[in-house]
Symmetry: D2
Subunit: 340 residues, 4 copies
């Protein structure tokens, strides 16, 4: 009954097998191997567009690298106040960009409020030499409150950003969860929705450690800069084939979507039933594989006593994260404990 994080879950066995299979003979290093090329091709097919890709071992690295080729050192990134890049990456974006600012914006359920965005754009003009101009809008999909922006919501925000000349970055550490939640195509939830660069995370959805930084055509000219920074930050893996093998197996045959659906289904069931319990109230809609729920101290204790592991979130709620391997038995056990 471990609901601490999807990063505590094991990897899917198919990815382990893919790594073993990739370990045959010699292969060019630093990403010049055939598996890396195959990953790029798979992503082009899946996203229905030309694109450029590099792989990293963590979402923090992916986000920081993407932002570093979109945001000059003397500009700023607009993001939600709860954004992972702002709260949980130890200043990685500031480090990789050479000191750009992250401007935290407010909004319910982890979604940037349009008025907050408009206000920030009004307060920080594009051509005032004394202040860092906004250069990037960063959106998390799935976001840090476990919610997915609808396509309409995405369009409204990215349009505002693009009108002002900002690039749009999407932190997709749980992109797959959001995607199956919305039921749209990968293209619709990314470049067709105004996203220039996407960090597509596999680690939280079944990989050992593999995240893709994807540059869509609008910013593909930045690939050489991205590769230089990949190297400079120590993220160009010598034996890159093993990261590519994971990503390749994860995407193949829609395994990524299957795993995301499993995690989402567990979360949906947990959210729906737990919300009915006395002393429990959902803090946010559970669009993906995260459930934020406000619990009375008694209920919280009862769940813990029953063996459920979850984090007390800073906003006072309890966070339950499901994963591709969360079982019905685990969910049942939580619900049983909740009923008392």
């Amino acid at each position: 009954m471990n609901f601490l994080s999807d990063t505590t879950a094991p990897a899917h066995p198919v990815l382990i097998e893919a790594i073993a299979r990739a370990n045959e003979g010699f292969a060019p290093s630093y990403g010049a191997d055939p598996l890396s090329a195959q990953v790029t091709q798979r992503l082009r097919d899946i996203f229905e567009t030309d694109l450029a890709v590099v792989l990293t071992v963590s979402g923090t690295a992916a986000n920081a690298l993407a932002l570093s080729v979109l945001c000059p050192c003397d500009a700023q990134v607009l993001c939600h106040d709860e954004a992972h890049i702002h709260r949980d990456e130890r200043g990685a974006p500031e480090f990789f960009t050479g000191g750009a600012k992250l401007l935290p914006l407010q909004g319910e359920h982890g979604k940037i409020d349009l008025q907050a965005l408009d206000s920030a754009l009004a307060q920080w003009p594009a051509d005032f030499v004394h202040a860092p101009p906004p250069a990037v809008l960063s959106l998390s999909q799935l976001n840090e409150a476990g919610c997915a922006y609808s396509l309409d919501e995405l369009h409204v925000l990215t349009s505002r950003a693009r009108e002002r000349g900002l690039f749009v970055h999407m932190d997709g550490a749980r992109f797959a969860s959001a995607l199956v939640s919305l039921g749209c195509t990968p293209a619709e939830m990314s470049w067709k929705a105004g996203v220039d660069a996407l960090c597509l995370g596999a680690t939280k959805t079944g990989a050992l450690g593999a995240e893709a930084v994807i540059l869509f055509p609008s910013v593909m000219d930045r690939l050489p800069a991205l590769q230089a920074r990949l190297k400079r930050s120590g993220h160009m893996a010598p034996k890159a084939r093993f990261m590519a093998a994971q990503m390749d197996a994860w995407l193949k045959g829609d395994l990524w979507l299957t795993l995301a659906r499993q995690a989402n289904a567990a979360a949906a069931r947990l959210a729906e039933r737990l919300a009915r319990a006395d002393g429990a109230e959902l803090a946010h809609p559970a669009d993906g594989n995260e459930v934020f729920v406000r619990l009375t101290p008694a209920l919280s204790q009862r769940l813990r006593d029953a063996g459920a592991q979850f984090y007390a979130w800073p906003d006072g709620s309890a966070r339950f994260v499901t994963s591709w391997c969360t079982t019905s038995e685990e969910i049942d056990a939580v619900l049983k404990a909740a009923r008392g």
Copy 2:
């Protein structure tokens, strides 16, 4: 007959198995897992001292992280002109330190010349506000010319550095190769020889991607800074157990030494025999798993025609790198082609 680099070689199967075994159930993320703790303990036993460790996916990351906690942004690192940190890491040390300088020193066979070190220390005083003071001496063992410093050579250089208050960093991307070459203990070739921080590389000696930054007691107080920078640079892997699993299996039962001996033996045989061929001359002693040899154009072509892959090195020599899986047949084939 791939002698391009030990990073093009596959990983040792035992490490793949270790990864599969580590994939059981849930485990704390970000390095708090039991395997990571076990790696630290193994390294303490092997190095016969207390120490602190973090793991990274590349040697570039390991070196840059180690240097970033030893060298202030306004100081400098003294290294060999051929050092990997200077030539082949796209300025990663400069990036991670926040703009420290790398001062390249000369010396035969990739070894820093004592006079060059003394001259640099004389030219760059410790307390001159207008110039970055030397703060770190970085030594590669095995070095970039495939040579190993003797223990005496290490002691002379590190003593000079320590007298002036510099820390000593060792780039041990091929530490295992140098170690079995010298036939001394890991302690003797590191902290007992004046090394404060060691980057111990497993990737080039049989791992998929695992490098350890080891802080010896003289600098263990920098562990919190190192961990913060590990996170900040995106190198704190969410599912760190898989990197730990590799390192653990690599160290267990002296597998690391066995693999290094295999690679070294192949290189030694290649060097010895190739040196006897007409048109071939060793550029440096082949102390580890790298052979630098000057070839006539005709001989070089003959080897390539026979299927040998190797790099034309910037100094005009040809570089052959052997690995744990280089076979006698491959060496024989090269030597046969060399004899014409």
Copy 3:
């Protein structure tokens, strides 16, 4: 009738004379001259404590340098959302610190609200490796709304900060204005109130360009780091005597306080009388030499037609800044126009 900024005002003639006087013969460069030493001594006398000083040409430089020796690159500075360091220095603190964060806090009248501070300290723990810990609290005195923190208000905020191990930085670009407003001693408004490092600005109160970064005893050990960064950022002036001459003349015989009193008196009169006009309402108490007033469009136009120059502030108010050379006639002319 120029109320745009105190940086558009001329310097006081006594400072010009001091520069001319300092231009006699040779003098050691880079701050080793006798006038620089004399400035340090004067500041020690005025602040009734030992302290260390460096001089810079701008307040942006002073703030960024001070913060860079107090805040590690992977930590953060807590400041008011309207703080000059956050809004008007093009990310200089981020640049000088190597990528630290500035966390904007809310509060009426440009003063950090205690609850906002407490909330931030609670949300950003000191020992969470994934997030930049708060390292510095920065307070502007006079602040960006033209208000001065009372000594009690300062104590409450700095105590909270110091309990958590934060350093306290004071942006004193208009320190003199705040000081004569409170009527306390320089010591009481700085180190006795919990301030570790003070940026004492002379430029806005009559200098040509001279700002002092003052390290009080609690952080004097950082002087070598400060000097190194002064040099590294190009702010160690070769002919430092000319900056020292300004600061020396400005402090001598309490000229600085006299000039601040003149500017404050003009502002006070403008604020008091303007507030009585129809269509005008003070936005903040006018504690120093800045008056923020909400004007009806008609009144605003009338003032501009009469020749008054002032900025439309982002919050909708009009900002009038007086200086040491604002005349009664100018104030009268504004007030006359205001009466219609």
Copy 4:
């Protein structure tokens, strides 16, 4: 008899008067004042081309700012091993560029040797992702050995650089001295000789503290970036008119050339006569206002006993720097002491 540095000399009185004159009434801040515009116009006339300018308080700032808009953070600057940017600016270029490398090249008399340049360009290819590509060639004119590159020498070096796509930066801290030494036009010694950005120093030739960063048409598109970095580094002076006033007066009526000629003449006389003394030998041609001379210990002591102040240079020579106010009497006194 102070020959320590031209930065220990006073400013020319005309510049003091210009500052006093500039202190009339209000003026726009941050460089938008009429005097700043006038400086730009003067420089356009003098350099016979369109150009963009910003002013700074130190040569270190000017060089670092210029380099920061020419050299990406992951690239490198080629410069002489003795270059001020490499030896005497505490890593300012590394700081401002965000961690670019400075690659020191050898060459007699402070001049970069063409073969050294060619070798560096060959060793560091433009498109190798693992190494920082050369992006800028930096030349000091007058250089750190007191020598001036001839126009031919400049052309040869800058051509090589430009063929490879490098920008050319000129550190002209003593540009005026080199210019009157060569007897050519400012245009011929800068943009017509392949220079993209020039740091034109007035401080060492009679100013209080004023250095111009000049962008020639080939890089004028970088002016917005330069201004942003000027602000971000704290070098955008609030009361910029006082720096502009100096530069304006310095350029007006060719005062700058007159002052440089005075300094050069003193140096030439000192060099020529001192070279004839027993125990003295010129280390480098004295093309400008610096004389490097090897002295026997006895002669050195005799000069010091007579009151001459000069630096013992790291290469074993003695450095004498003359300035616009060095008198014939001072030179005579040195020569008299030299004769014994």
